[in-house]
Structures are given as C-alpha cells and as structure tokens.
Assembly symmetry: C2
DNA sequence: ATTCGTGCAAAATCTTTGCATTCGA
DNA sequence: TCGAATGCAAAGATTTTGCACGAAT
C-alpha cells in the first residue's frame, strides 16, 4: 500500500476511481483488499470493516471507512445491502454471480441464493418505468429454521393472551 | 378514541392486538387511523407519522410512535420498508395488493408496481430454505427519469469534492 | 503546487430505553 | 386492581461533517 505496483494500473476498481478523478490512497487499497479477501458471499458493515482494518494493523479511521464505502458504492463498485438491522452492509460487486438474500428477523442470519431471473426482472421493470437501474435487490424476511423452532417452543403461552415474552427482535 | 365503539371489536388490527395480549389505546387507534387515511400506496417514516400526529392535534410522543411501529410490524400488521435512506418507512399491510418498489437514489422518489409473481417467488424460495416467510421485498435502485437527465447534463467530476452540488443523496 | 483525502472530534440522525405516571382490561 | 402503555428525557447506535494537516497527482 505504500508501493503502488503495476497491478494497480490495470485494476478495474482503481481504473474506475481514476476515471472519475479520485485518488488511489493506501486506505482505499487496504479496504479493497479486505473485501477481496472476504470469503465468497460475505458482506461487511462499516463497523465490521473498520474492525478488520484496525485488527490488520492498518490505521484507517472510521470516518474514512464510511467515506470510502459511500464512494465505492456511488461508483457501483460495492453493493449496499440493507437488512433492516439499523445499519448497512456492503459487498464487492466484481466477480459476483447475481444473488439475493433471505434474512432471519430474529437472529439476523442471512442466506444467499443465486438467481439471474430476478436480476433481469429488475432491469426490465426499471426500464419499463424509465429508470436507469443501478441494482435490484430481492429480500425475503422470515424466521430461519432455528428461530422458527424456538418461537414455537415458547409460543404456547401467547395463545392464552399473555404478553409475548419473546418479541421478534 | 376515547369511545371504543363496537367497530373496534371487529377490527382485524385490534383483534390481532388483543389476541397477543396487547391493549387498545387511544394512541394506537390514532396511529392506525392515520395509516388508513393515507392515500393508497403511501408509506410513512416514524418522523413523518409523528408529524402527522402532532399536526392532527393528537399528543402521541415520538417514543410511542416508534414503539407502536415496531409492535405493529412484529405482528405483521405493518410492512417495514427500508429504502436505504437511513430510516425506515411503514405501510399498512391490510387491503394491499402485493407490490414492490423502485427507488431513485438521487431524489428518493419511489414508484410502486404490482406483482404477485414476486410475492409467490418469495414464498417458494423461502420455503425451499426452510424459512417461515414474513415478507418478500423486491427493490430496484436507480435514477428516475428526472435525475437521469440532470445527471447527464452536469456530468460532474468528483463526488466528494467541493463542486459536487449534486451529490447522490 | 494544487487540491483531494484523512484523522479527529463534534454534531447530526435515527432509534431505544429507564423510570415515574397513567390507563386499559 | 395490576400490569401494560405512555411521556419525557437521557442514552445508544449509526453516520456525517468542519477543519487542519498530510498525501497523491
């Protein structure tokens, strides 16, 4: 990151940055690297990313973390995911197969599933309304197998009209 | 609201509340009424709802507004929408035709479109993964016709730089 | 040499919560 | 009556921003 190697010149993400007049900084390189090292299908919140940055010895401030996530998202390099948890998650768009998410509203676990049909549907519907489509996201909210079971175990009470001890979230 | 008429007994929303042991309060009645008076297809954020409450002369605190939105959502009476704007929106589920949203990332305008196919797809995909599906949301993010035009006219250079009069969001 | 990007801390948003009081069932 | 619901204000959580300094081009 203090040594901008040749590879950076060809890197598609850095090319996108340069094309719009943005600079290649050590912080941006590090952040990009973390996303690329992420196991396939993972996504990070700003806090999680910042945690990994600190952990890896890189001194990237939280403010820069947020600024970089916003920048890369606005350039279409990151996909901004909102699982209704109060904060956003981000995943690298490059090399990703079109996929969508199922989210457990009780434990926040997420499951991915591939689907190019939905991807295409998003494009078509958007065009039909004269939008320039940036991203289409299909989210299925529900209870994962585990939480579904737990909910049933402690649910017999509420049938009687007693207060729901186990509120979702 | 100080006079629980017969209609309340039959009201499906109040029935849901009672069934779970929750009480029918003036605040909850008022909030429900505001949602019902809303033009079809509209949705409100917590702040917007609270504004309408104050405006209508009802003294419902912001805290109660938030608590009620959360409660009604957890009971499946409201649909919680997240347009990645930093806050959530809510719409009444009753009497609504399955529909999804297109969101302009520049001006936050939203357009609805009906689609039962996506609704069914959500159910099917969820079941396939053993989830108990609560809601399926398809969101298309992009630029609305207006913002698409504006963006082209002033093809600005930098997003974070000074002259970025027109920041996406 | 510019001027963009960063770090820091303060501020702005949005949402939740503790506690005393009020009110519905 | 008795516990749930409310209001208020304080606290939390997340994200943004002003400013001075350091770095990329």
């Amino acid at each position: 990151m203090t040594d901008p190697t040749e590879s950076n010149i060809a890197d598609p993400v850095f090319q996108s940055l340069r094309k719009r007049g943005h600079r290649i900084t050590a912080q941006r390189e590090t952040i990009l690297q973390i996303f690329r090292d992420l196991p396939h299908g993972n996504h990070l919140s700003a806090e999680e990313l910042h945690g990994k940055l600190v952990q890896s010895g890189s001194h990237v401030s939280l403010a820069t973390t947020y600024r970089t996530l916003k920048l890369l998202s606005s350039l279409g390099l990151l996909r901004e995911l909102d699982f209704a948890e109060g904060h956003k998650h981000y995943e690298l768009k490059e090399d990703t197969v079109p996929h969508q998410h199922i989210i457990c509203v009780a434990c926040n676990a997420t499951v991915e599933f591939e689907d190019h049909f939905l991807e295409e549907a998003g494009q078509k519907i958007g065009l039909r309304h004269n939008f320039e489509v940036i991203d289409a996201q299909f989210k299925i909210f529900g209870l994962c197998p585990d939480c579904k079971r737990k909910a049933r175990e402690s649910d017999f009470v509420s049938e009687q009209g007693r207060p729901a001890k186990m509120r979702i979230k």
